[in-house]
Structures are given as structure tokens and as C-alpha cells.
Symmetry: C2
Subunit: 100 residues, 2 copies
């Protein structure tokens, strides 16, 4: 493979990454919207925000259905970050509402 | 809202989360495949694996195109984790190949 051929291949692969990233970004934001709706329902009937059992269910769903090449540990770490960010957004939202 | 209504709403919203998670999972794995292909091309022509400029491009792509509700900081942290995991997978793959 010449350096020029490699550069052309990289350009095309990076274009694919950029497209995938925007799809991932859209789904993460859609997930954040649904997570906020869950928070609203819980708040309305005073259910606890944090439910470790449900969290394990989320991890099970993604690790059991993981086709790879990402490892189970990697998938778990990725979804830990995702859940953390949704929780943080929720906290920011609640403290904004209380501040009003 | 009664507790029963809340429970039904939560069940439905969680079903939506589970569906979104499997879509996110599929895209993350597809991204890992493309990232591995990028690694192979770079290796073939001895280009450096880590390119900070390209990494900034990835962050710019997702922060500029972020519709919210996730904040720019949240999106950046999420994609830092994503990039980290792809890099780790790549390292594992390389050390497996060298071990053979």
C-alpha cells in the first residue's frame, strides 16, 4: 500500500466514523430525553431516583446482547459513563428547577 | 398519577431505553470495527497510531452537531470514553498479534 492509497483509505474510514458518531450522538440524546421522562414519573409519585436493580438490568441487556468486537468489560464501562452522564443531567435539571 | 399508572409508564419508558441501548451498542461495535481498520491501514504504512489533531476533529464533529439535551461537556466526556475503549481494544489486538 502506498502512502497515497493509505491516505485515501483513512479519509474514507474517518468519514464513516464521523457518520457513526453523529448517529451515536443522536441516540445518546434520545436516551437522555427518555431518562428525563423516567425521572419526572418517579418524582411525581416519589419513587427513589437510584435503583441498583434496574441498573444491573441495563448492564445485563447490553452485555448479553453484545456482538463484539468490544469486550463485555468495555461495554460495561461505556454504559457506566452513559448512565453517569444521564444522572448528572438529571441532577442539573432538578437543581435548576429548585433554583427557580 | 397513581402508583400503578407510574409503574406502567416506567415499564414503557424502560422498554424504550433498552431498545435505544441495543442500537447504541450496535453502533459502538461498528465504530470499533472501523477504528480497527484505521489501525490496520496506519500499521501497513507505519503512520503513528495516536493523532491528537484527528481526535480534536472527532470532538468538534460531535459537539458542533449536538442537538442536546446532553451538554457539550457531557458529549465530550462520553466520546473520550468511546475513543479510550477503541484504543484499548486496538492495543489488546496488537499485543495478541505480537504474542502469536
Amino acid at each position: 500500500m502506498t502512502l497515497e492509497e493509505a491516505q485515501a483509505a483513512l479519509d474514507e474510514l474517518r468519514r464513516q466514523i464521523d457518520v457513526l458518531d453523529l448517529q451515536i450522538l443522536e441516540l445518546l440524546n434520545r436516551r437522555a430525553v427518555v431518562a428525563a421522562q423516567i425521572g419526572d414519573v418517579k418524582k411525581a409519585v416519589s419513587l427513589p431516583v437510584y435503583e441498583p436493580k434496574r441498573e444491573e438490568e441495563v448492564f445485563r441487556n447490553v452485555t448479553v446482547n453484545n456482538p463484539g468486537p468490544l469486550s463485555e468489560a468495555a461495554v460495561r464501562r461505556l454504559f457506566e459513563r452513559i448512565i453517569d452522564e444521564m444522572r448528572l443531567l438529571q441532577r442539573e435539571r432538578l437543581s435548576r428547577e429548585q433554583g427557580q
